[in-house]
Each structure stands twice: as structure tokens, then as C-alpha cells.
Symmetry: C2
Subunit: 575 residues, 2 copies
């Protein structure tokens, strides 16, 4: 039993200065967590009980799915991460340190290398597979902007699993098993979530899905079709296009267009010059970027912007993408700023990609590659060609669902899980092979599956809190019942104390507010803030043989006879 008189808990009246999101504000005010440093937190007793409930649910569901629990260190030697090139690739997000002998170590941000090497150390035959192993472990990432409390910390706990299979068909089965286990886990945690496609063209068709918990302050933006349920993160949104169905356009026609520094000014000029009116969507923007040192033009409709993150996710192998700078233009003197068109990009040594809306056969108003000149009827396939289509424009609410063509909405969410067909990258780099039926060595294929365990505390708080406080699902709450002794009479405290003991004997976890020096008002406010699902009040009406039973979530209150309190409460909670 938890007793408020001795519990290490002091609720706060005021919001902490650094709390950007509701969950963090309430977790601090209700005495669940405390900040130690940017992105680094301590857990107070109520917080750690809640955290451990989540950890237990996650572990039970992983075990139920037949995955085996292992545990790796957080302090890891450099060598395996050197072999996969992640020691340097990880950049400044990796915490690096040296031991007393000068050997390089890192604090594990993820453990692909360790999982791969563990299996390599034990297994050697296809008969040993499939295997799925997991750990629940502290991770370290030196986030540039740790924020939102425990949602994005620099030290946090993840459940990370990896599956090992001999072939793609096996991986598909392991992936589905994890997907099913994740659905069960998040349902038990009481989370609302969407499973969102995170498969981008660049990843070559291996499946990748995110579990997103919708929440207005979430850091992740995703696309949702409210009609058919299609959901994708922005990088993985697929543009819905139809083949060009118009007439074959006339030959390219160049026209004078001085003083048209913007798309709007070009549209205005055009609509003055020609009879059929256009909008920005009829013009073609040539966005010049450097992709790993290669000059590249991304063609998008004039009413759209390029989303560099989306572009990066969809250009196979691209590492470093940036917008053209002055010095880049200097290297391509053929480029006439403000009047660029794709017509002779190839001749100038510029690679060209197009947004899927620039369908073959469609014609555009674009630069004529000459000062103060634009051209119309510039037709894809006739007047210019592209390397490939690429999903690169900023996704907007109202874009069409690729599945059912309904306008989509853009929603915000917290990423609570990610499942991913990792493939052979790590097995290849670290030499994880097994012999197949024919005695031939085969590189193992892997899946990678993560749940943010400490983050889930905040995600659940975000989704379940209300204006007066936290509001936990029962399985996650630090107790089932918050029992308040409200009054001054000894008889109230004696009755409440016995009731608390009896409820614990009946299998209920009780937080008993047995404080003598706190007023009923303070106790009620604390109970609402702390968010335990059921509140029982022993107060003045005890003299009439009644106590009060409250449901925290609905606010519903009822008087119950004090003589049969335990049975009535247990029955009410069991529902």
C-alpha cells in the first residue's frame, strides 16, 4: 500500500517553466519525474511504478509472442560500430568516450551490431532459425534539441527486438508476428494509435511501419485518410496521379517575361498576355539542389515547395542534400537565374527528377533558359526528360489518398513503435551467415522492431489526461484506487485505514491519502492531478453509513454503503 503520509511525493501547483507539452507539465506537477539535465530525467516513486507497469506489459506481450529476452551493455566498444561504419556515420548524436587506457567506447543509441554479433556467436545453421530476441534497455542519443520531457530524451528506455531468418519469406512471417504483438501491446497500454506506412521508394520495397499515437503536440506529422484508413508518414505519402489525358500540345513557344521574379508575377503576366487563364499549378518550378555533390534539378508544380526531408528519403542512397548556393550557380554559367527550364539541363550536366504530377505528355510554363524569357507548351517526354520521378513536394492536407482518392488530413502524433524489415545490411557487414539445406553459406536477413518504453509513459499521459490532471488506464496506473480520508475525526481515519487494508487483501492496489495535515480540498486536487482511475472518499457521510466512489475519467460519483464497501468497490471496478 502507498501512503501519502510517507510517499516521496510533493505535487506542484505551478507548471514548470520548461514544460512545452501537457504530459510533461502534468508528470512534473504530479510528482512523477524530475529533470536532471536537458533530456535527462529521474523517476520519483509514482513515476517509476507507472513506468514499470508499461515495461511489464511490453515484456509479457513479447514473451507471449515467443520472443526471447536478452540484455546488452549500454557501454560498447567502438570496433563493431566501426565495421558497420556507424561509429562515424552516426555523427554528433552518438555519445563517445574513452576508457582509462584510451580505448574508444560509445553509449549505445541502438544495438543492431550487438544483436547481430550475439547470433553470430551462437548459431551457424538454417535449423537454428527463425529467431526473435529482444531487450528492454537504456539508450543514449545526444539529441540536438531534447524537448517535450521524456518524449524525446537523451537517456531513455527502448524495447528493441531483432528477428533473424534465412530468407525473405521467413522475414515476412517474423515481421507479421511482431506487428501482431505490437498491436496487442499498444491496445493493452490503452493507446490510440495508427499504423502508418513508412516505406519509402528508396528503401527498395522492404516493409517499414510506424505506430503513431495521435496527439496535437506530437512531433511526427503524418497523412491520414479518414475514409479508407490509409495512413503514411509524410516521407512515405504516395502522390495520386492520372495519366495525361489532354490533347497533344503545340510546339514550345517562347515569350518575353521581364520582371517576373516570383511565380505569382509570372502568372499575372501570362494571364495578361494569353487568353486561356492559368494558375501557379500550370507553371513548372526548377528547384536546384546539390545531392552528394551532384547538381540536381527537382521539377515541381509552381504552387508546390520541395520538402528536403521527403526528397532525401526518396532519393536512393542520398546522404547530403542542400539547396544550390551562389558558388554552385557560379559553376553552371548556363543557368539563367529566374529563367531556368529543364529543356537543356542534361546538356548542362544537371540531373533532373520530377514530382509525379509532372506526368509524361503534360505541358508546362517554365523558364526558357534565357534572360527575361519564359516558354509555354514545354512538354514532358517531348521537350525534356527526367532521370526518374521522385516524391519530393511538401504534402498538404487535401492531397488525394493514393488508395481511394479522398482528400487526406495531416495529423500530428508521437511515434511509439517502429517495425522495419532491415534486411541483410548488418548481417553482411558483420559476417552473420548460416549454412542452408545444401550446406551453402547464406547471409541472414533481419527485422528490427522498437517500442519507446519510457516515452510510452508520456504518450499515454498525452492521450488520456484532461484539464484537471493525469488520467491513467488501470493497468498502467500506479494504483487502482486513490482512497481519501477527508475530515478530522479519528473515526474517519480508522475506517479508511481498515478499508485500505481490506481492499489490498481483495487484490486492489491502493494509494491511501492518510495525511492529517492536508485539507479535503488539497487531497481532492491531488487525486485529480495524480490520475488514479478510481477515487474513494471517506468523509463526513461516514456517520450516515456512506462513502463516496468516483470514477476519475467520467467524473461520475456515487454513494455506497460503508458496511459493504469492499465488495461494492471491487464489483464496480471489475465492471
Amino acid at each position: 500500500m502507498l501512503r501519502m503520509s510517507t510517499l516521496l511525493l510533493r505535487t506542484l501547483r505551478d507548471d514548470p517553466a520548461d514544460a512545452e507539452v501537457a504530459s510533461h507539465r502534468l508528470l512534473v506537477r504530479a510528482g512523477y519525474v524530475r529533470r536532471i539535465s536537458a533530456g535527462i530525467y529521474s523517476w520519483l516513486p509514482l513515476g517509476y511504478l507507472t513506468y514499470r507497469n508499461i515495461e511489464r506489459v511490453v515484456r509479457e506481450e513479447m514473451d507471449a509472442a515467443g520472443f526471447q529476452e536478452v540484455h546488452f551493455p549500454a557501454l560498447l566498444p567502438r570496433d563493431p560500430y566501426e565495421q558497420t561504419n556507424r561509429w562515424s556515420e552516426y555523427g554528433p548524436d552518438l555519445f563517445r568516450l574513452k576508457d582509462r587506457k584510451g580505448n574508444d567506447f560509445l553509449l549505445g543509441p541502438t544495438h543492431e551490431e550487438m544483436f547481430t554479433l550475439m547470433v553470430k556467436g551462437e548459431y551457424s545453421s538454417y535449423k537454428d532459425l527463425p529467431l526473435s530476441i529482444y531487450q528492454i534497455q537504456t539508450k543514449y542519443r545526444d539529441e540536438p534539441r531534447p524537448r517535450s520531457g521524456i518524449i524525446r530524451g537523451r537517456e531513455f528506455v527502448m524495447k528493441d527486438s531483432y528477428s533473424f531468418d534465412i530468407d525473405d519469406a521467413g522475414l515476412e512471417i517474423s515481421y507479421q508476428k511482431h506487428r501482431d504483438a505490437y498491436v496487442k501491446t499498444f491496445k493493452r497500454l490503452g493507446l490510440d494509435f495508427n499504423i502508418v506506412s513508412a516505406m519509402s521508394g528508396a528503401m527498395g520495397g522492404s516493409k517499414s511501419e510506424e505506430f503513431l499515437a495521435p496527439c496535437p503536440t506530437g512531433e511526427d506529422t503524418y497523412v491520414l485518410c479518414e475514409k479508407c484508413g490509409f495512413a503514411a508518414n509524410v516521407e512515405a505519402m504516395i502522390t495520386k496521379v492520372d495519366a495525361y489525358a489532354g490533347q497533344t500540345p503545340p510546339a514550345v513557344e517562347v515569350f518575353d517575361s521581364p520582371n517576373t521574379p516570383t511565380i505569382d508575377s509570372l502568372v499575372e503576366l501570362y494571364n495578361g498576355l494569353f487568353s486561356e487563364p492559368i494558375t501557379a499549378a500550370n507553371t513548372l518550378k526548377n528547384v536546384l539542389v546539390m545531392v552528394d555533390g551532384v547538381a540536381t534539378s527537382i521539377l515541381v508544380p509552381g504552387d508546390r515547395e520541395v520538402d528536403l526531408k521527403r526528397l532525401g528519403a526518396n532519393l536512393p542512397g542520398a546522404q547530403d542534400i542542400r539547396i544550390f548556393e551562389e558558388e554552385d550557380f557560379a559553376k553552371f554559367p548556363g543557368l539563367v537565374k529566374g529563367y531556368i527550364g529543364p529543356q537543356d539541363a542534361a546538356a548542362q550536366g544537371i540531373k533532373v527528377y520530377a514530382d509525379p504530377r509532372i506526368v509524361i505528355g503534360s505541358h508546362w510554363i517554365t523558364g526558357a533558359n534565357a534572360k527575361d524569357k519564359h516558354a509555354r507548351f514545354v512538354t514532358h517526354g517531348r521537350d525534356f526528360t527526367v532521370e526518374a520521378f521522385v516524391e519530393a513536394v511538401e504534402v498538404k492536407a487535401g492531397d488525394l489518398c493514393p488508395t481511394c482518392a479522398t482528400p487526406v488530413v495531416i495529423d500530428r502524433a508521437i511515434e511509439i513503435g517502429h517495425i522495419f524489415q532491415l534486411g541483410r545490411k548488418y548481417a553482411q557487414a558483420l559476417g552473420l551467415t548460416v549454412l542452408d539445406q545444401n550446406g551453402k553459406s547464406q547471409v541472414v536477413t533481419m527485422g528490427s522492431y522498437g517500442i519507446g518504453v519510457s516515452r510510452a509513459v508520456a504518450a499515454i499521459a498525452e492521450q488520456t489526461h484532461d484539464e484537471i490532471g493525469l488520467n491513467w488506464p488501470r493497468e498502467i496506473a500506479p494504483a487502482d484506487i486513490h482512497l481519501v480520508a477527508a475530515g478530522k475525526d479519528d473515526s474517519i481515519f480508522e475506517f479508511a485505514n481498515t478499508l485500505a487494508t481490506d481492499l489490498e487483501s481483495a487484490g486492489m492496489r491502493v494509494l491511501f491519502d492518510d495525511r492529517r495535515d492536508a485539507s479535503p480540498g488539497v487531497k481532492f486536487k491531488d487525486a485529480e492531478l495524480i490520475g488514479i482511475p478510481y477515487i474513494v472518499v471517506v468523509g463526513k457521510s461516514l456517520q450516515d453509513g456512506e462513502i463516496e466512489f468516483r470514477v476519475r475519467k467520467s467524473g461520475e460519483k456515487s454513494q455506497i454503503p460503508s458496511g459493504s464497501a469492499v465488495a461494492t468497490i471491487v464489483a464496480a471496478i471489475a465492471g
Copy 2:
């Protein structure tokens, strides 16, 4: 249920090259742990199950004692450790690193600062105390010589508690509560242990006790009285002495003693010169040391050596102690090497301490502070005085128990717990004060209590293993029953499979060796190595309606009827 056919486990026939102790050899061979780097290990499934059983027992006992669980980060900012001076005092054992902004961090070796600051953040009144809080958490220490596997690692798990009280009487109660909880915990873990006094004079009477698990390969040496049970670590051993009961000695008599470079040669010369024979124990050795830059003479009987570690623990406040070097002698020209006596030490500016055996009134043969001269009848209190007595000589088996005067033995052990009255050091440094009954600010007094949780896996393995393998107490074992299907017939596997399921339904945790490609001999060897307490064999005798039940520890075997196997096994295990 664990199934050998799918369990991530490959036992090893051969001892690992780096295994110095039995526990580590067996934990590696039986597939419990794997080495990642010096002092850094991964847990395989069986190992992590075992570890988690220990963690559970520790947590249950801490909770039962009313201690509250909290959790701190491992990655900690420098500032609090700067305030207590531990950032630098900790030396090279501390893992230090910088974040991306260049801020200093450390990996927590212990969390005194964090516990103190947490309580300071929440509490302000004597009414809030007493409080005991704990965490089970990963610690980091860059040991100069990590060894013995998980017994002394660089990354390891500790349960660390701290108690907070307003006064010494409160601390005494909190200390005793922890002591009681530790006794219960280690008993449940099946550990043999001694509670050993670690209280040294220098610590000013605050209590400190170690829980030591005797084991021949242990790193800790301690003194044990097999008669009365007195136990102390070597630093805390108390010398048993009687007051001087002889006659008042004659005046000091100087005699020629050329060529007596050793105690033995002095004894030989003396016994030639004088009628009453002596031994080395009648001579007085003047061991010169520098204690934080102060020249100090430690007087000990000639048959004893000075133990610098013991001396350090017993000289209040001493930080740096070293034996005199040539340059130190050069600063004290009055010192005649080989002929030093305490008679005029004070005049020379040398501080003198004496072993308790140099009782007041006793007389000694020692140097006469003149070349080739010794003196006899040199009497403590008459011819020389000392600053204080100090426990500084090497403890030997056969020294007398301070409690019952029986000769003690010297034993080896693994330290599994340590409880310690820490006092006000950290509260003072970090400003943890509360208001007392009179509204006056008081510095809180603290106790510090640790259990090596991951180390306990190895300590239990050390104490319980035998020549054929591990041998776990049931509560700690990764399963209750190791069920072996021994044979080739499908009927054996089918029966065993049903039995495994039925045993699990009856509440038993079963490891089922369902491998089709392993011989009975291999399976039996694995069962012995893995060390689950009960082994059930379903083999050829199944056709006669019998299966075998083995007790791993005693080797006892019995045939039981297959028809009533579940009931018989459950009854046998329940004892």
C-alpha cells in the same frame, strides 16, 4: 515454457580462455553470459532470467521493508559531483564524457549526489522524515583490472538505497531496518554469508558492515572467529591486548649492536649478550612513513609488518600514505638508519603512533638513535610517548578474537552487500537541510546501503556449483524443472511434451529439452551444466510406465509412475 529446440543457447565444452573463477567459467560454458569487452558482458536468455529472479527478490524485500523505489539516470551532469569534490576525487575510475555542446558528463559510479538532491528538491521539514529510497540501476566504474567475469565488471547493476533522518537515533533505526532487510534478501537468494564489521576507528564510530559470501576465489579477505562468530574485514580488526602487568623495568640501558641490519640479527646478538632470551616480538620496529607530507613513525612489534591499507583506514583523514624514501631521510639528519628509536622522535619533529600491543608501561628493545647502538628497557609512557594507538599491523590467522580471545581464521569472500552510516557529508555539501520541531534548520543524516545485483548471479554460482556444473537454488534458477526427452521414439516426445505443458499448468517453470538431434548423453550433460534444480527424464522406461526424477544438487534419482507424474513431481518439489 523454454524449449531447447528454439532457446538461444549453445553450451560450450571447453572453458573460456579468460575465465579465472569457477562461476565465470560455468556461466560462459552454460550459455548465461558472453564477454563484450573487458568487464562488460551481455546476458543470454538463461542468464537474464536468472538475473531477473535475483532482481525480483531484491525488489520484493526492499518494498516489504517499506523502502520506495525511484530511478536515476546513469548519464549525469558534472556539477553536483563538482560540489562534493567527487568529479576529481574519483580519479580514473570515473568514466567522463562530453555532450555535443561540450558540457561535462559522467557515468554514475554511485548516486549519493542524486539521492541527496532528489530529497532536497521535495522535502523541507522534519515531519517528512525518516525516508528510505532505493533504485536498481546500472553503474559504471572504469576498474583498472576488471576480472572474475561479472563479479567485478565495468558496467554492472547495483541496488542502492539511502536513508534520510533528522538525527543519529533515527539513522540507527534506518540502518537496522536495512540490515534486517539485507539478511532476509540474502537468505532468500540462498547465499551463505557473514556480516562483517567494516567500522574503522577513523570513521568516528559510524557503523559500517559488509555482507560477505565466503568463497575461496573471493577478492575480499576478512577475519572470522569460528567460536563466537566475530567477523571483521581486515581494516576493521581490533587487536586484543591486556594492560601491562609486569614489574616496572629498570632504567634504559644502551648497548653496542654493530652489524644488526635485521631484527633477526639483533635478536641473535641480544641473546648472546644477555641472560633472559628474547624473540622478535620483544623488539620495537620504527616504521617511517609520510602521511600527507608529515613524517610519521609507526611503532610495531619486531615480528609484525605494517599494512598500509589498514593504517590508512585507521588514521583519521589520511589521504596519501607512503613509506619513507631516501630524500625523506635526508630531511631528518637526526635519524640513524638501522638504529632509530622513539625516544627523541618528538624533538626531531616526527609524529609517533603505536600498535595497540605497545601498551603503556611495556618495555622494548629498540634503536638508541646512535650508530651501532640499541637500547633495552625503553618503556612506553616513561621513555617515549605516542600521539595515539593505531591499528596498523598486518592481521594474521591466529591473532586473538577481540570478543572471545580465540585465535581467528582469515577467510576469502565476495562482497555482496555493504551498509554504512554515511552521516552528513553529502547533505552538508549539497545543502540538504530540513526545519526541526523548533523551526531550526538541521542538516539531514544519511545511510548508504548497496547490493551487487548482477554480481549476486556470480556469487550464488560460486557458492552452489559443483564439479559438473551450475546448481541454482530454486527461486533463482531460470526454471524449476529441466525436462529431458531421452530417446528417438515419437511416443517419448509426445509424452514429454504433454508432461511439460501439464507441469507448467501446475505452476512449474519448465525448460524442456525437446531436441531431436541431440543424444541423451549430450542432454544429460547440458542439464547438469545448466544447473536447474530438478531434472525429469522421459526415456526408455516410459514403456514400463516409469519416468525418472533427479535432484540436481544431491544427485538422488528415483523412478516415478508416468501415470501420476505431475502430482508426484509437484509433491516432491514442494518437499
